[in-house]
Symmetry: C2
Subunit: 68 residues, 2 copies
């Protein structure tokens, strides 16, 4: 199990957080997600989670992310 933190830009509200959560929760290996629009952060906890797939999932939700 490992924890990775990403910086996400463009989230403005709880709906945005929910969109990111929905997409990232579908990524293989993801166990837990903490997403915070105000701080612009996404923390992903899981097993063998592929960073590039997380970044793609955030992009699918409509936001830009990078590893912190």
């Amino acid at each position: 199990m490992s924890m990775t933190t990403f910086t996400v830009t463009g989230m403005t509200c709880g709906h945005c957080e929910a969109s990111v959560r929905e997409e990232v929760s579908a990524v293989a290996g993801v166990e837990q997600i903490e997403v915070d629009a105000a701080r612009g952060t996404l923390v992903v906890i899981g097993n063998s989670v592929d960073d590039a797939t997380v970044l793609a999932a955030v992009a699918e939700a409509g936001y830009q992310a990078q590893r912190s």
Copy 2:
């Protein structure tokens, strides 16, 4: 058919607009809705639409509104 404009505070993004649209579209008599998060406006077009019911619908979506 009449048009009424409301000022809505708290909407930040397209998801917020969609939430307001969803609730207000369920109000009796509503035919068309224009909602703009950036401007904080909601325009309702319809027949015999009750203003108080529109305000309650916006509140249900999680935002504050008043007639402009």
